[in-house]
Amino acid sequence: MWAMIKRGWVTLSRPSRYFSLGFLTIGGFIAGILFWGGFNTALELTNTEPFCIGCHEMENNVYEELKTTIHYTNRSGVRATCPDCHVPHEWTNKIARKVQASKEVWGKIFGTIDTREKFLEKRLELASREWARFKANDSLECRNCHDFEYMDFTRQSPRAEQAHSTGLADGTKTCIDCHKGIAHQLPPMAGVEGW
């Protein structure tokens, strides 16, 4: 085994006999682009709503529920899709989330949420993970669309203005603290903070 690795390394580290340095550099560069592009394209593909609701667990549960909310239809016609709320925009966070999401795909393959009942049973756990994530990143995904800086309190309802000019403005609370269940039905909330 060790001998094999060593032989491989020797081959790799020897200067190339057949290809010019220029070819190798440019070729490597192009291969790099192709690989990187392909990787990101694959990533982009998994970053669309049709992909997210490709499995019936997501389509029959969370997507059906989203359809009745303001983030699906509203007077201005601006929509939030699954990745808008669930996939961070920066690259490192995105990859980290994808790795975490594969665990959810894993959950599908092994049938832990393949019926509505099993999904509902697991819902508190899944939701808690999302709440923790939103809490940790200060509800970054919400803020990608709803920027506090540009919120005009005078155009909001008094209840909203009251809450936003206190808890939100002084940073003690973030969107998810007050807006749980904005896109889906909630699990049993006994014991969850603020309920």
């Binding site: 909310t69 303001i70 269940g181 909630l186 049993p188 909330m189």
Partner: protein, 151 residues
């Protein structure tokens, strides 16, 4: 003998229905039964956050804010996340009154009584529509004022 009489009655009934059809029902508007009137516009719920007066002391107050998408079911009660005893400090909402904690025998429970759990059974949001039927309700204070003025 019976035959002509029935025919007459039927004919009479028919003409009177025709006459009625000209003026069926104010709520339907001037649309014959067989025709579907166009649906009225959906109104916007009032969301002014200004508490309204109650028409009598036992009236469940109407809701001065919108309640779209507020989940009230076995899992959770969105209303109580603001209106329950322990949440009013954070939400600055009025607490549900003590009657909501009473069972039908008048015992005080620790939690909101099951018969008061589904809030929209009694409390409703409002929209500024034109009432289809005239409301002849009179405030008791007005009645007292009127009768004492008459005396």
């Amino acid at each position: 003998m019976i035959r002509p009489l029935t025919t007459l009655t039927l004919a009479l009934a028919f003409t009177s229905t025709l006459a009625l059809a000209q003026n069926i029902d104010a709520m339907r508007g001037d649309y014959p039964i067989a025709e579907e009137p166009p649906a009225p516009r959906m109104e916007q719920t009032e969301n002014t956050d200004i508490r309204r007066k109650r028409n009598y002391p036992m009236q469940p107050p109407t809701i001065p804010h919108k309640i779209d998408g507020y989940q009230v079911d076995l899992n959770t009660n969105r209303c109580l996340s603001c209106h329950s005893r322990r949440r009013t400090e954070a939400s600055q909402a009025p607490m549900v009154s003590v009657t909501h904690y009473m069972d039908r025998d008048g015992n005080f429970l620790a939690e909101v009584s099951p018969r008061r759990y589904f809030c929209s059974q009694c409390h409703v949001a409002q929209f500024p529509g034109n009432p289809l039927v005239e409301n002849t309700f009179e405030d008791v204070d007005d009645i007292i004022a009127r009768t004492s003025a008459a005396q």
